[in-house]
């Protein structure tokens, strides 16, 4: 059962893919990228220098021994990451 969050998180990337992130004061290490996709935003409503993309990553990661699945989103307009959903 997944839960929906939407918390801002801090993410470190390697080769353009998320490698580690901190969520609710815990450090998660990404083991595997399960899926990755991109959607374009309503660019006509936002500023002109932004590519207007949202990049989604569904990853397997763990803060400790237990592994969970997490969906992260990077928004090019805000240049920030969100924790969208978690299956843990």
């Amino acid at each position: 059962m997944s839960r929906i969050y939407g918390d801002p998180i801090e993410v470190w990337t390697r080769d353009g893919e998320p490698a580690r992130f901190v969520w609710r004061d815990r450090l998660y290490v990404v083991h595997r990228v399960l899926d990755h996709w991109v959607t374009s935003r309503e660019w006509w409503k936002i500023s002109e220098n932004d590519p207007g993309e949202r990049r989604f990553w569904r990853v397997e990661a763990s803060p400790g021994p237990a592994t969970g699945t997490y969906e992260l989103r990077f928004d090019t307009a805000a240049a920030g990451w969100l924790m969208l959903r978690a299956w843990d």
Binding site: W37, T39, S40, E42, W44, E48, G52
Partner: protein, 1275 residues
């Protein structure tokens, strides 16, 4: 090496965003050696793609992407989520090497299958052409949709069906990083593997760069007619760009789930398909093949012998069989033609011109083809090249690749008949029209983006119309460059996104249309070479444009519809009908008629072909042509090239003997003598090059072509230095080079000018000798640049009466009438209407007594010409009139016109209503403009209340009554009564107009027993002002009197000079002029300025004004935004009898008039300010010095027109805003033209006003006049 097999270019209309050349260049940059182009719905970009590939050393693949519909018999699957089922299904086909013709035929069939503009294929259709094709089933195919919907079993069934139908089938997987996309692709791969169908990877490319997807989104919205909304866009389109090989390897890894072996196999299979399809560009580019391949029509028998025989016949027919010169020239031409194996081409073209003339359609040759004697002999053209020293080499030379262009002008009204005849003669499989792509320009781009962004349609319309016809990418530059846009408020930040996006659409194809003249005439293999679809008018139309068909080696003939030819034909028919005179313009008309040239020399050329524009009227007045050759020079000089290389002045000076003609070298004298040492024609360039280098004319033609291209110019320069014969010294060599270089590509082909000069002369001759018939033709076919009301005014000046609409006299088109003398009322009518003009307008009115004495004198009105014009204009007077036609009535339908003409004569309004069955608004409009005046004896003007006398308003009320009666079903009994009544009346009086003319106003003889009764005189008559207002609104013409007449008091009060008084004004004087704006142009001029040329019409003649950039800051908005203007200008004499004004300021006449009426003359004077003349050099008076200085500073910052002119090698500078159609501005008169005079108190709202067509106003005008007002008011 990766190959993109699925690529849409900008030729996927309103879908792709990159041009084939850009895609090929990018692919070459990625080191790809093969690239496919698979545009949607056709092969529109195929030839351009192949050309780009050939140039870049890339091997092309060509295919197409079609909508797929369910095969007949199998209904579309109805289960599954609705969203998936409703999505459009598409498949991509690629031509295998050698499969070009299969792709052409499939494309043609796909367009035949659907409704126009909605081509689609079925599996059966594809199977029929599958022999030469590879079929790719991608994510959008029926199979792909089924896989995405997780209906695996259904997908297997579909794929199996495809596998049975098509031998060369592949599954196409795509991953745009969309949600679930790679998983779907993986399952697609699994399915392909299970079914043993090879799979390939593509990127379904539609952009060049990732960021381009926004343009794609706008195009999607424009194509689907929806606003931009997340619901309507492709969410992963940012990945649909031309990715590099490396990026595609990553994509392969994604869809194969990281299995590198499978990914490698996928890429290898993609490559195998590419190799199967790649072909040699020269297979299609016939002109690049060695030897070049031409696809000519079949000719019965031996074309060479046939052409020779026909040329011999021609020599005899043209009386040239004894001419040694002609025989020698013919032998030369035939040698070239036969070496190039083009005999069949000439035979075919002459067959077509014979066909056209056989239909009774006027047909003239245009362009360089007039330089060929063969064309003259076999009657393709009527211009004898030997007469004018025309050269064949300009048309056809040894060194030139491809087919020579033969262009034919036919009557515009019969152009499509000609196409149909050619189609019938050669058959559908051999003939197709050439297409052309309409591309996004500023206005269309703003419209589509505005709609996508959800702006209200009328606002979008206003914004779009504010712009002149510039390119889309100039939009924001124009906002700051052009004075009329600077103050318009359009540079608002909120519109910035709209403009930015609109600029991105610049030049993208948006619509395919029939080319205005190109016709392909091929052989039975034509449909193997070009795909064909239906045009709007249902003609077969190639998907290739004119450049493409030439590259493909197809024979193109230009059959251009020319309105002047229709006007001439119409005039000849009217002369035959009215005067029973047969005139053959080619045979009967002398080409040296002094009267015709006299008229041309005075610049009275409005309506004539080629020489009616203000600039040309000025030039003919200066040049004073007396022969055909002079006309040829005149036409050639009035081109941007000669004008901008300043050839006009030296030519005129030498012509009038003010200067000795000078020649760079005595040996160049023969080539340049005809133009007094000035190079005007292409032919002269050839001769100069030939004389000085001895290279021959064919080679000289190649040199001339090279001169037009800056890149090859240097090469030519080197060649020139080496090739000039030693007898020419250094100075001559340099001087000659300067002339050639300055000339560049700008000059004019003399053959073309000679071909133009003929209809020019013919039109002038007709205007001089049959003005009524000629102007009837001009009014009917509208060949020129002036609105109809200017032509009407010209008619009046020629002594031709303008007769109002009359239900019993008017026809479908403008008819010439010769009113019989025994009809006094008609004459009175004319006189009355003309009498109103007498104030300030010198008209000679002869009384009815005189009229009775001589039938010719019945034409009571004759302009009394003033000054120098007297002799010329007087000669025009004739007893003719022009009758306003039914078709001029706004909103009238073709069928109504038909019935109205067929039902003549009518005995009453009720009879007309009953038998012609007009719609109510049309009937009312006809009453309003006096269509029943003659029948019912109405006299508008004068007393408004005339008890007992019928008025137009009574009749309008009657129209309402009649309609209500028809609606309530009392018509049947009335109709019977009407029938007998009608017959009786017609029989009794015999003539149409006689019915109402004889008796008292008994028009109320309408039996109103069953309908409401309208008392005659119950309603007031229209005033003259109201009548003219109605005419302008309904006919677009001021028939009964000139509009400007209503402003005479004001114009006299402020001292406006009239057109016919201009010649008496000394040069350099600063005066006020006024008139209705009839033409506005911004042609290219030498200085690189955007100069506005405006012509005003004040009822006594045209007034030509020039606005230079220095005054546009304050004038441009008013010039573009006014219908009637007052202008202040400095008089400049431009010829013995022509005057032009350099404008210094201008005002909207309607606004001045309002000011005059509300605040008085002083207020108007204050706005006008004292002119320079009154103020003796103290500048523009009323403004205080400080304000003046401030304004001057401000103007210094952003004065005039911005934008960098393009500079050419010869010092010619071209403004980026020159030579484009200006903003439409105001083309219809304002609704209320003048203010009702105090006495007329009729209920203004009484006349039912039909809705005006949209476009009366425009943002430009609204905004411009707004700012104009505030600016003027602030002074």
């Amino acid at each position: 090496m990766f190959t993109h097999l699925h690529v849409a270019s900008a030729y996927s209309l309103r879908y792709g965003t990159a041009f084939p050349g850009e895609l090929v260049a990018r692919a070459a940059g990625h080191e790809m050696d093969i690239l496919a182009l698979t545009d949607r719905d056709g092969m529109y970009g195929a030839v351009k793609h192949i050309q780009a590939c050939a140039d870049a050393g890339v091997r092309p693949v060509v295919g197409a992407d079609f909508a797929l519909s369910a095969t007949e018999g199998e209904h579309a699957p109805s289960r599954g989520p609705a969203g998936e089922e409703s999505a459009e299904q598409r498949i991509t086909v690629l031509a295998r090497n050698g499969g070009w013709r299969h792709l052409c035929r499939l494309t043609t069939d796909a367009h035949q299958a659907g409704r126009r503009g909605e081509p689609h294929v079925t599996r059966e259709l594809v199977a029929r052409h599958a022999e030469g094709l590879v079929v790719m089933l991608g994510p959008r195919s029926d199979v792909g949709r089924a896989v995405a919907a997780r209906r695996d079993q259904h997908a297997r069934v579909l794929l199996a069906a495809w596998r049975r139908a098509v031998p060369d089938l592949v599954v196409e997987v795509v991953d745009h990083y969309g949600h679930h996309e790679s998983a779907t692709a993986a399952r697609m791969l699994a399915l392909a593997k299970a079914m043993h169908v090879p799979a390939v990877l593509t990127n379904a490319v539609r952009h060049l760069d990732p960021g381009d997807y926004r343009v794609g989104d706008v195009l999607d919205a424009a194509r689907k007619l929806v606003p931009l909304h997340p619901r309507h866009v492709e969410h992963s389109a940012s990945h649909a760009y031309l990715k590099s090989g490396k990026e595609m390897v990553q994509a392969a890894a994604r869809v194969c789930g990281g299995d590198s072996g499978r990914a490698a196999r996928l890429l290898a299979e993609t490559r195998r398909v590419a190799e199967r399809c790649a072909f040699d560009p020269r297979d299609v580019l016939a002109l690049r093949a060695e030897p070049e391949r031409l696809h000519l029509p079949e000719v019965d028998g031996d074309a060479v012998a046939l052409l020779r025989r026909r040329c011999e016949d021609g020599l005899a027919h043209r009386g040239l069989e004894r001419s040694g010169q002609a025989r020698e020239r013919l032998a030369d031409e035939l040698r070239v033609i036969e070496r190039k194996r083009l005999s069949g081409y000439f035979v075919a073209v002459s067959g077509i011109t014979d066909l056209i003339r056989g239909m009774g359609v006027r047909c003239a040759i245009r362009g360089s083809g007039a330089g060929s004697l063969v064309n003259y002999l076999i009657r393709i053209g009527e211009v004898d090249p030997l007469d004018h020293g025309l050269l064949m080499e300009r048309f056809l030379s040894e060194g030139r690749k491809g087919l020579p262009d033969i262009d034919i002008d036919v009557e515009s009204a019969r152009r499509l008949d000609c196409y149909q005849a050619i189609l019938d003669r050669y058959g559908e499989s051999r003939v197709a029209c050439v297409s052309m792509m309409e591309t996004y320009r500023a206005r269309s781009a703003i419209r589509d983006v505005g709609a996508a962004m959800g702006l209200p349609p009328h606002e979008t319309d206003l914004i779009a119309k504010a712009f002149p016809h510039i390119r889309a990418r100039q939009i924001r530059a124009a906002l700051s460059d052009l004075p009329e846009l600077r103050g318009s408020g359009l540079d608002d930040r909120s519109l910035d996104t709209v403009f930015r996006l609109a600029e991105r659409l610049d030049g993208l194809p948006r619509h395919i249309a029939l080319h205005p003249c190109g016709v392909l005439v091929g052989n039975s293999g034509l449909r193997d070479l070009t795909p064909v679809e239906r045009s709007m008018l249902d003609f077969p139309m190639s998907q290739f444009d004119k450049d493409d068909v030439e590259e493909a080696g197809l024979l193109k003939l230009d059959v251009l519809g020319v309105r002047m030819q229709s006007a001439l034909a119409y005039a000849l028919d009217e002369i035959k009908r009215v005067d029973d005179q047969d005139i053959d313009l080619e045979q009967d008309v002398p080409r040296d008629d002094p009267a015709t040239y006299d008229m041309i020399c005075t610049g009275h050329t409005i309506g004539c072909f080629q020489i009616e524009s203000p600039g040309q009227r000025e030039l003919v007045a200066k040049l004073e042509p007396r022969t055909m050759h002079d006309l040829i020079v005149d036409i050639s000089l009035f081109r941007p090239g000669p004008v901008n290389s300043d050839m006009v002045t030296p030519y005129l000076e030498a012509r009038h003997g003010w200067r000795e003609p000078s020649y760079p070298h005595p040996r160049l004298r023969p080539a340049l003598r005809e133009t007094n040492g000035v190079v005007v024609f292409h032919e002269q360039v050839l001769r100069v090059v030939d004389v000085m280098t001895g290279c021959g004319l064919s080679e000289a033609e190649r040199v001339r072509r090279a001169l037009g291209d800056p890149a090859s110019r240097e090469r030519v320069r080197g060649w020139w230095e080496a090739a000039v014969l030693p007898e020419f010294d250094r100075e001559t060599t340099d001087r000659a080079w300067q002339v050639l270089d300055a000339f560049g590509s700008f000059g004019f082909c003399k053959a073309h000018a000679a071909a133009f000069a003929l209809p020019t002369y013919q039109s002038a001759w007709l205007k001089r000798h049959h003005p009524a018939a000629f102007l009837a033709g001009v009014l009917t076919h509208d060949p020129g640049m002036y609105p109809g009301r200017v032509i009407l005014d010209e008619a009046r000046k020629c002594g031709v009466a303008v007769l109002p609409l009359d239900v019993n006299g008017s026809g479908r088109h403008w008819l010439v009438e010769r009113p019989p003398p025994a009809e006094p009322r008609e004459a009175t009518k004319v006189r009355e209407s003309m009498e109103t003009r007498e104030a300030g307008n010198p008209l000679e009115i002869r009384g009815p007594q005189e009229a009775a004495e001589t039938p010719e004198a019945l034409e009571v009105v004759k302009p009394l010409a003033t000054g120098d014009d007297r002799d010329v204009v007087e000669g025009f007077s004739e007893g003719y009139g022009l009758r306003v036609p039914f078709s001029a009535v706004k909103g009238i339908s073709e069928a109504e016109v038909e019935r109205m003409v067929a039902g003549q004569p009518y005995t009453s309004l009720a009879d007309f209503w009953e038998r012609a069955r007009p719609s109510r608004p049309v009937a009312e409009r006809i009453v309003q403009v006096g269509g029943f005046d003659a029948l019912h004896g109405l006299h508008p003007g004068g007393l408004r209340w005339r008890p007992g006398e019928l008025t137009r308003r009574d009749l309008i009320a009657q129209v309402g009554a009649l309609e209500r009666a028809s609606a309530t079903g009392v018509t049947s009994s009335r109709r019977r009564a009407r029938r007998t009544g009608a017959r009786g009346a017609a029989g009794a009086t015999g003539t149409s107009t006689g019915a109402g003319a004889g008796g008292p106003p008994q028009a109320v003889q309408i039996p109103m027993s069953f309908t409401e009764h309208v008392e005659p005189g119950e309603l007031p008559e229209m005033t003259e002002a109201e009548a003219v207002e109605a005419e302008l609104e309904i006919l677009g013409l001021d028939v009964s009197r000139h509009v400007i007449g209503f402003y005479d008091d004001l114009l006299d009060a402020i001292g406006v000079v009239r057109s016919d008084e201009l010649l008496a004004v000394r040069g350099g004087a600063e005066i006020l002029v006024a008139g209705v704006k009839v033409a506005t142009q911004t042609p290219a001029v030498r200085s690189g300025q955007r100069v506005i040329f405006t012509t005003l019409d004040d009822s006594t003649g045209p007034i030509d004004l020039t606005f230079f950039e220095s005054v546009q800051e304050r004038c441009a908005a008013t010039v573009f935004g006014s219908w009637m203007m007052v202008a202040r200008g400095v008089v400049r004499r431009v010829g013995a009898r022509a005057v032009s004004l350099r404008a210094v300021d201008c005002w909207n006449l309607a606004e001045l008039d309002h000011l005059w009426r509300t605040e008085g003359l002083e207020a108007v004077r204050a706005v006008l300010g004292p002119g320079r003349g009154d103020q003796a050099g103290t500048g523009r008076g009323r403004r205080s010095r400080a304000a003046g200085a401030r304004k001057a500073r401000a103007e210094g910052d952003r004065a005039g027109v911005g934008g960098r002119p393009t500079e050419y090698g010869n010092g010619y500078r071209l403004s980026p805003y020159a030579d484009i159609g200006p903003a439409p501005g105001v083309t219809t008169p304002p609704r209320k033209l003048w203010h009702a005079s105090p006495g007329s108190s009729g209920p203004i709202g009484f006349i039912p006003r039909p809705d005006r067509c949209a476009g009366e106003g425009s943002a430009g005008r609204a905004a411009a006049s707004e700012s104009g007002r505030s600016r003027k008011g602030g002074r």
